[in-house]
Structure formats: structure tokens, C-alpha cells
């Protein structure tokens, strides 16, 4: 008997078999249908995914297009703004070029004076200094112009005026030169000008100045010729050429100015060691001042101790010796001597207190600058207001210098200015300690003249710390003194206070 594998064994009659076959066919069809639907579903899914991806791509592309467009527009606008700015710059540059080329004409005259003067020094030495001073005048003007117009500060590095110093051996010292006899002021001035490399640097610049002027003159001339020339030339070609000249001048004007600035600065700028030389000079001066004031202070303290406390202690010792002898024989006199000794000790203490206050005020040591100045303000006969904004304490020597400076300023205000009120403002800006003392007095103080020796003293003492003093004191007041010292503050102390 045939057996159909997979569909079960043959059982029963033919009718049964047929229905069995129908069943199998049905089953097979169902299976096929299921496979087909699955396939169709998968295909649809794929199609959907494909479409989605496509849409995504299109969207991205649109986005990219839009971005590109946006960027292009931005770039365009930026370029337009730049062009606008450049046009303004150019217009300014052209105006400036006109001015500079005018100035350069002046330097030609300066150069003539200087060269002739210096050349004549060989036979007529006295024309040398005025010639070099003329050079300096022109160079100073140029530096000022560079600072004003281009905002480029070119430091001056002239050597300071020399003053002769008599040495113990009867010789004289001028700067680092030692001379056997005293020189006249004219000779000293001559050396100063001729020995200073800055003079020759200025002269070098002056020699180049007319050429530099030419650099700025070229675009100016192009512009002038290109515009005014149109009025009297004929012929199309000539007009076009002049227009090209005008545009050319317009285009090169800023470049010529930059070149002018660079070369001027390069010619005028002192070399690095000139700045160092100036710094050394300043340090030498301030060190000498510091040593001098220190020595004077020590001498004063020694004298005060010697004449005051020491003498009193000697007297007390003598008195006590006498008391020892008199105790038995004359108790009354001994008691009197003892009372005297006690008084002498109180006086000695009083003197020591004054001395200590002059060396380092106790309140400064105990409380720091702000409170020490408040204490000064309280002790002053004037009405003094103190405003303080210090985030920490400065170094003790700086505090001490500022304290004594303010003390002296307050004394000055009380003694000379006729002021009734004083305002003291203490604050720290950047890395500088700044103190401003303002009074409502009659003003007219001047630390450059003979009357302001106190202010000059303060200036010298602050100089040791690279500090500066600025004074504004018009007739009729008010007087404003500003002290500024570069210093870092330590954070406020966290003791019990």
C-alpha cells in the first residue's frame, strides 16, 4: 500500500481520502497565504522606510540649502558693513594723510636746523645744544602725535639733567663721570645732550621724517590730482586715467598710514636697554633717598634717646643712690627725692611714647592702615571723614609710608590751607593702593616750588615703593592730593578682631 509521507497514513475509503486531500490543500493554501501576507507586509514596511528616508534626505537638503543661503547673506552683510567701515576709515586716513604730509614739510625745516647746527658744532660749539634741543622738540611733537592719532605711546628715554657732586678728594662727579674740577652748567648741558643716545636717535628720525612724509603724501597727491585734475583735462582716456589715479590713491591711503606709523615708531622707540637704564636710574635715586631718610630717622631717634630718656634714667639712678644714703639720716628728704624719681620715670615714659609713635604708631601695628588713619582723623582739629574700602592689609612698610604721608597731609591741611573739612578716601584699584586726601581750604599748594618741601618729602618717601603723588590745588581750593602705590594686599587677618 502506498504511503504518503507527511500527510499521515492512508485510512478508510476513497471519499474519506478525497476530503483528506481537500483538507491538505486547504492547509497548504492557508500556509501559502500566510507566507504571502507576511511578504507583502514586509515589502510595504520596506517601502515606507524607504520613503521616510527619502523625505528625511530632502528635508536635510533643504535645511542645508537654507543654511548656506543664510551664511551667504550674513557674509554678504558683513562684507558690506566692512566695506562701509573701510570707506569711513579710508576717508579718515585720507584726511590724516593730508595733515601728516603738511607736518612732514615742517620736519624738513627742523632737519635743516639740526644738521646745520650739529655740523657747525665743530667750529662753533655753542650752536650744538640749541640744534639738538630743536630735534628734541620735533621728536616730542611726533611722539605726542603718535599717541593722539594712532594711540601708540612711544616712551621718552632722555637722560636726566646732571648735577655735580663734590667728592671727598676735591673731585667732582657728574653721573658716572669723575672730573678734576667743577664744570660750568653750559658744559654739563653740552655733555648731557651729546652723550645721550636718545639725541642721535631723534636726529636719525628727523633725517627720515621728510621721506616718511612722502609716504603719506603719495596717496594724497593721487587723490588731489585725480579729483581736481578732472576739471581741466580733456579726452576720454585722460579722464579714465585720472579716475584710476583717484581710486588708486583711495585704496593705498590706509596702507601708507600704517607704514608711516610703523616706521616712525621703529625710528623713535628707544631700545629695550634704554628703558632698563631709566629704571636703574630711578632705582638708584630712590634707593639713595631711602637710605638718606632712614639714616636721618635713626640719627633723630638716637638724639632723642640720648637727650631725653637716657638723661632722665641717669638722673633717676643718681636720685635713687642719694635716697639710699639719706634713708636713715633724713627720711623727709629721701621721700622728696623718691617723688622726684617717680615723676622723672613718668616723663621718660611720656617721651618714649612720643618716640614710638614717630617710629611705628602702635595703632597701626594693632589695627592696620584704615583704623590708624581713622585714629589720625580723630586726633586732627579738623573735621575729617574717612571712607575705606580695602579688602586686606598691605605690607607693613607700605602701610607705614602711607600712614606718615597722610599724617603729614593732615598737618599741612590744618596748618596752611585754612580748611575746615577733610575727606580721606582709601581704596584698592587693580593692584594699586590709592589714597585721596581732599580739603576745602584756599588751595594754591605747589610741591614743585620752595614752599612745598613737605610734599616733596612725601613724594620721595613714596618713591621707594614706586609710589607717586599727584597734586591738584588751584587758587581758591580745593586741594586734592592723590597717593598711589603699587602693592598687593594680603587677605584680611582672621584673628579675634
Amino acid at each position: 500500500m502506498r504511503e504518503r509521507r507527511g500527510y499521515g497514513p492512508y485510512r478508510g475509503d476513497r471519499g474519506e481520502w478525497r476530503s483528506q486531500v481537500r483538507e491538505w490543500h486547504e492547509e497548504h493554501r492557508r500556509e501559502q497565504m500566510a507566507v504571502h501576507t507576511e511578504m507583502v507586509r514586509e515589502q510595504r514596511e520596506q517601502w515606507r522606510r524607504h520613503q521616510e528616508a527619502h523625505r528625511e534626505r530632502v528635508r536635510e537638503q533643504r535645511e542645508r540649502h537654507r543654511e548656506r543661503h543664510e551664511r551667504r547673506r550674513e557674509r554678504h552683510e558683513l562684507r558690506r558693513a566692512q566695506r562701509h567701515e573701510q570707506a569711513i576709515e579710508r576717508r579718515k586716513a585720507v584726511a590724516l594723510g593730508l595733515r601728516l604730509s603738511g607736518q612732514s614739510l615742517g620736519t624738513v625745516f627742523g632737519l635743516l636746523v639740526a644738521v646745520v647746527g650739529v655740523a657747525l658744532t665743530v667750529c662753533l660749539p655753542f650752536v650744538g645744544p640749541p640744534a639738538l634741543r630743536t630735534t628734541r622738540w620735533f621728536a616730542r611733537r611726533q611722539r605726542r602725535m603718535l599717541a593722539e592719532v594712532f594711540g601708540h605711546e612711544v616712551p621718552e628715554a632722555y637722560r636726566p639733567a646732571l648735577t655735580g657732586e663734590r667728592l671727598p678728594g676735591g673731585k667732582f662727579r657728574y653721573g658716572d663721570r669723575i672730573e678734576r674740577k667743577e664744570r660750568s652748567s653750559w658744559e654739563v648741558e653740552f655733555w648731557r645732550l651729546y652723550g645721550d643716545p636718545a639725541s642721535w636717535r631723534d636726529l636719525r628720525w628727523l633725517a627720515c621724517a621728510p621721506l616718511l612724509g612722502l609716504v603719506t603724501l603719495v596717496p594724497t597727491l593721487c587723490l588731489l590730482d585725480g579729483s581736481l585734475g578732472q576739471l581741466w583735462v580733456s579726452g576720454e582716456l585722460n579722464h579714465v586715467m585720472l579716475a584710476a589715479l583717484f581710486v588708486g590713491g583711495w585704496l593705498i591711503a590706509p596702507g601708507s598710514l600704517t607704514a608711516y606709523r610703523r616706521w616712525s615708531v621703529a625710528l623713535l622707540e628707544p631700545p629695550r636697554n634704554a628703558a632698563l637704564e631709566q629704571r636703574v636710574q630711578r632705582l638708584t635715586e630712590t634707593r639713595a633717598d631711602a637710605v638718606d631718610t632712614q639714616a636721618a630717622e635713626l640719627r633723630r631717634i638716637e638724639r632723642d634717646l640720648h637727650d631725653g630718656v637716657q638723661a632722665r634714667l641717669v638722673a633717676m639712678g643718681l636720685n635713687l643712690g642719694a635716697v639710699e644714703q639719706l634713708m636713715e639720716t633724713d627720711p623727709e628728704a629721701a621721700r622728696e627725692l623718691l617723688a622726684q624719681s617717680r615723676e622723672a620715670s613718668a616723663n621718660a615714659l611720656q617721651e618714649l611714647r612720643g618716640l614710638v609713635r614717630g617710629i611705628h604708631p602702635p595703632v597701626l601695628a594693632e589695627r592696620g592702615l584704615a583704623d590708624a588713619i581713622r585714629a589720625l582723623a580723630l586726633d586732627s582739629p579738623l573735621t575729617v571723614e574717612v571712607v575705606e574700602d580695602l579688602p586686606g592689609r598691605a605690607e607693613p612698610p607700605v602701610e607705614s609710608a602711607v600712614y606718615f604721608a597722610v599724617s603729614e597731609l593732615l598737618t599741612n591741611a590744618a596748618r596752611h590751607s585754612g580748611a575746615g573739612r577733610v575727606w580721606i578716601d582709601l581704596h584698592h584699584t587693580g593692584d594699586a593702593l590709592r589714597v585721596q586726601v581732599t580739603d576745602d581750604g584756599q588751595g594754591g599748594a605747589d610741591h614743585r616750588s620752595g614752599s612745598g618741601t613737605g610734599l616733596r618729602g612725601i613724594e620721595r618717601r613714596l618713591g621707594t615703593f614706586d609710589g607717586v603723588l599727584a597734586l591738584s590745588s588751584p587758587q581758591g581750593g580745593p586741594t586734592i592730593v592723590t597717593l598711589e602705590l603699587p602693592c598687593a594686599l594680603s587677605s584680611r587677618r582672621t584673628s579675634t578682631c
Binding site: 611714647r353 589695627r367 579675634t496
Partner: protein, 215 residues
């Protein structure tokens, strides 16, 4: 009367202890640094504290700060501050709470034992004891004050002694005048300065000090 004493110099501390004990005071504690002082003041609650301004560990105004802090915790705690120098700034800080019971004297005032112990007693009783140097400085910084300038020389003397913290009787004894005369001067001074008169010595002194301090 129990005293807390703060002084870092051994010799001076021993000297002060001897002097105070000789005058019938009892030393509750003798300390030598700021933190110790503050603990002693708050824990022992003495009748009066005698304090040196400059104390370890920082050797700045440790003593003054400890005394001020203790007075914030225990209002009106009598404190007599001693110093090698006197500052108006510190005097103002001590007087700022206006409750009295403060003293501020130069260290050399202890040479005169009578006056010193008198000052300690005055402070303990809630009065004040200001150093003549402080008063002189106060008068100097008020030199432009018109009502003060209108006082007669004798009235100025009375004012200065009163500002130091003395009672009318003590001022009379000091100036060799009768107590009644001092009373008359006082009334005149108070009228000229525009202050409200008071029968209480301490309150009168505080009013005068407040006037001189410009508050």
C-alpha cells in the same frame, strides 16, 4: 571685690597683683592671653576686669577685643583697660554702648596707687575712668566747637575733670573749691553745651563724654 587681671609681662602682672591685694582687692584670676581672658571674664563674672590692650597670641589689640566681646555677652561688665598709649578710637569703642562701667588709662597711672585704685573702684561701681590724655585729645579735636570755646577757664577745668569720670566731690577736692561751687560750674557748663542736667554723677559724665565724642 573680685578682679580678673590680664597682663602678659610677668613683672608688671606681679606688681599689679601685689598693689591690688595691698588695697584690699581679691584677684580672681590673673591671665596672660586674649582667649584666656575672654573665658575668665565670661566664666568668673568678676566685679571688675583690669586688662592690657596688647596681649598674646597676636600682640595687637587682643585684650581690648576680648573685653569688648565679653561686654557684648555680659552687658555692663566693668572693664578697666590699660595701655602704653591712648587712642581716641579705642576710647570711643569702649564708650560706644553708653552703659558705663569702663575705664581707659595709661599704664603709668598705676604709679599713683591711690588714684589707680580709686579708678578701679569707680569703674566697678559702673562709673568711668578716662585718662587725662584721652580727655586732652578729645578737647583738642573739639577745639573749633563754639559752645566749648564759650566756657570760662575754670569751667573747662571742671569739664575736663568731670570727663575723666570724677564725681562732683572729687572735682571739688582736686580744685580746692567747695562742692557747691562745682555744682554751680556744672550747671553753667550743661546750660552752655545744651545738655540736660542730671543729679547722677555717672550719667552726667556719660553725657559729657557723648558730647565730646560728637554723638
Amino acid at each position: 571685690m573680685r578682679i580678673v587681671l590680664a597682663e602678659d609681662l610677668y613683672l608688671l602682672r606681679e606688681g599689679l597683683i601685689r598693689l591690688l591685694e595691698a588695697h584690699g582687692f581679691e584677684i580672681a584670676a590673673a591671665v596672660e592671653s586674649g582667649p584666656e581672658l575672654q573665658r575668665a571674664l565670661v566664666d568668673l563674672r568678676p566685679d571688675v576686669a583690669v586688662v592690657d590692650v596688647r596681649l598674646p597670641p597676636t600682640f595687637t589689640d587682643e585684650g581690648l577685643q576680648a573685653a569688648l566681646a565679653a561686654r557684648r555677652q555680659v552687658p555692663g561688665l566693668p572693664v578697666l583697660v590699660l595701655s602704653q598709649h591712648v587712642e581716641q578710637l579705642y576710647a570711643r569703642e569702649l564708650l560706644a554702648d553708653g552703659s558705663g562701667g569702663v575705664g581707659y588709662l595709661l599704664k603709668d597711672r598705676v604709679f599713683n596707687a591711690e588714684q589707680f585704685t580709686d579708678a578701679v573702684r569707680r569703674v566697678a561701681a559702673g562709673g568711668t575712668a578716662m585718662d587725662p590724655d584721652v580727655i586732652a585729645k578729645l578737647m583738642a579735636s573739639n577745639s573749633r566747637d563754639e559752645p566749648l570755646a564759650a566756657l570760662t577757664p575754670r569751667e573747662r577745668e571742671v569739664l575736663e575733670l568731670m570727663a575723666e569720670g570724677r564725681s562732683n566731690a572729687a572735682v571739688a577736692q582736686r580744685l580746692f573749691i567747695s562742692e557747691g561751687a562745682v555744682g554751680k560750674h556744672t550747671t553753667s557748663i550743661f546750660t552752655k553745651l545744651g545738655l540736660a542736667a542730671s543729679d547722677d554723677d555717672n550719667r552726667r559724665v556719660l553725657a559729657v563724654l557723648a558730647y565730646l565724642n560728637g554723638t
